[in-house]
Symmetry: C2
Subunit: 354 residues, 2 copies
Amino acid sequence: MMNDIVENAMLDKLASLFPRSPLQLNRMQESDAEVVLPGTGNGSAIAVTIDSIAEEIATGLYKDPWLIGWMTVMVSMSDLAATGARPIGILISELLPKNCEKAFLERLQEGIGDACHACGTSVLGGDTNFSDGLILTGCALGTVEANRRLSRIGCRPGDLLFASGPLGKGNAYAASRLLQQRPASLTYQPRARLAEGEALAGIATACMDTSDGVLATLDQLMRLNRVGFTLDENWEQAIDAEAGNQARRLAIPPWLLLAGEHGEFELLFTAAAECESRLMARAGQIGWQPLRIGHVESNPVIRMRLYGTVQPLDTARIRNLPHATHGDVRLYLSSLLTMDAELRRKLDNIVTNA
Amino acid sequence: MMNDIVENAMLDKLASLFPRSPLQLNRMQESDAEVVLPGTGNGSAIAVTIDSIAEEIATGLYKDPWLIGWMTVMVSMSDLAATGARPIGILISELLPKNCEKAFLERLQEGIGDACHACGTSVLGGDTNFSDGLILTGCALGTVEANRRLSRIGCRPGDLLFASGPLGKGNAYAASRLLQQRPASLTYQPRARLAEGEALAGIATACMDTSDGVLATLDQLMRLNRVGFTLDENWEQAIDAEAGNQARRLAIPPWLLLAGEHGEFELLFTAAAECESRLMARAGQIGWQPLRIGHVESNPVIRMRLYGTVQPLDTARIRNLPHATHGDVRLYLSSLLTMDAELRRKLDNIVTNA
């Protein structure tokens, strides 16, 4: 009887791929809002975040429906990770094109389901509407004991800077998808660093995910904490190998893999130098190897070794480039390459004058 | 320094109109996910819901930016109300057109802020992106003691059926906006029935909001509970006076104000007959007057008095009409008018044959 109604039949089908959360009190369709027990002790807080995947679809960056579904879950789960939270679940609002094909929709739902499975969480509910284009919005919920939550604010000069994993894959993928006629078969399938985020309680002095790219993340941490960051001389070792190869093929200087705005969804975090061994011990327990990539300085500037010398970077200009180039991908990349050329020219001048 | 970054400056501006929740542990920009203390005792659950406002904007049903902001908050808050939850706050994802004017955006934010104020709640966070059209998605959170939550399921034959307030304004507004050259100055500004939802704990045997119109809501309650509903003979007294006038001007039969899919965001709920006086007493305490509009029957059909006789309605056909008419508003209305004509013809036949 329920499925005599087209909308019910559609929701039933959309939801059937997803397992229910054991914490959810209501069954399908039983409630106007989903009701979940946080399932933690006293002093526990709710962490919640919302993210839409729209531009990535409109520009053609994400075409594979499975990846669109996967990313809808992962971008929100990554925010929970950066807060040290454990996921309760996710709600998803799907705006589907009116002519959406069945196979496309199934792959989309599979991507959502697979990402939830990878994060040990479930879809709690959602909303489905029809629109001109495809837009997905995820709203993830988690719990975190108030005294275990991670914040973007709290790092101090002298703290060490870490990445949760290799960097640059988001931008290598974007460059390949948007600039190459035949995109390389680069795998892009970020996993929210949830266990890692939880392991950082009491250790990380600041933490943020790289959803907008590494330099944008550092720039934001710089502004919020009124400190600076200097990357280690060997920063290139933190670049993902596949991403590095891709950059070489496209003749893109490797530091631009950190500058571009399409992130790899790793965590960047800081810790006091005396906590490094405790961090590494705790990381080892969950089979994780954080990468030490730099340190915090009092002077609010971001510096890295480029073309033989440690240079300050105009990260405000880098972050504002997407606005300045109005979403024109080729103009955006050529503007980044112009910045690279300016840095090299500046150096040539220094060398020439010396 | 923060506002050197265009995105930060924009977010700062967007958020400045909204007061912060006292339950929120993180400050602006401090956290990848917003962190809130549920602020209730043991046994309390989190209620959460997501809703996008997209079609209403695309079709021109909502044009006033203030109303778009207001509705973004109210549709989600209304879902919390139907669950008996008390709001914690809302997250809002805004997809803005690239050429969005400053004054438009300010009115939009004002509508969001005013609706939050009316619900005694706050914006917890959000996400802003640019897109071709305007789309807003709200995700509201609330708390409800597990034993006080309202559900759509639980009503029994003999229970009485109530509406939280006058009905039909959603469809009167829609008819005016979409069909009239000069829309009437009908005020449409639904308020989520939050205090009313909380007052229904332990009384309502089933509850659902009329976001999709009254008959669609009853149809869904019928399917979920495997019961039927008969409206009282005097159901027209529950029609909002302004909505009734508007229907007369447009020559729309009043029952179609219950059939259309644009809701008034009232609650429909059921209660055992012996609870009626307790309901009215508790309602009186918060200055509320629920409207008794019908009762629950065992036969799963929805019936109301039309053209002199109590008739069963094909509510599946009514609910599936938006799909069948592919979003063509005039075709949708003419299909509803065809159904009305069929009902009248059927009656003429009965009278003629008698």
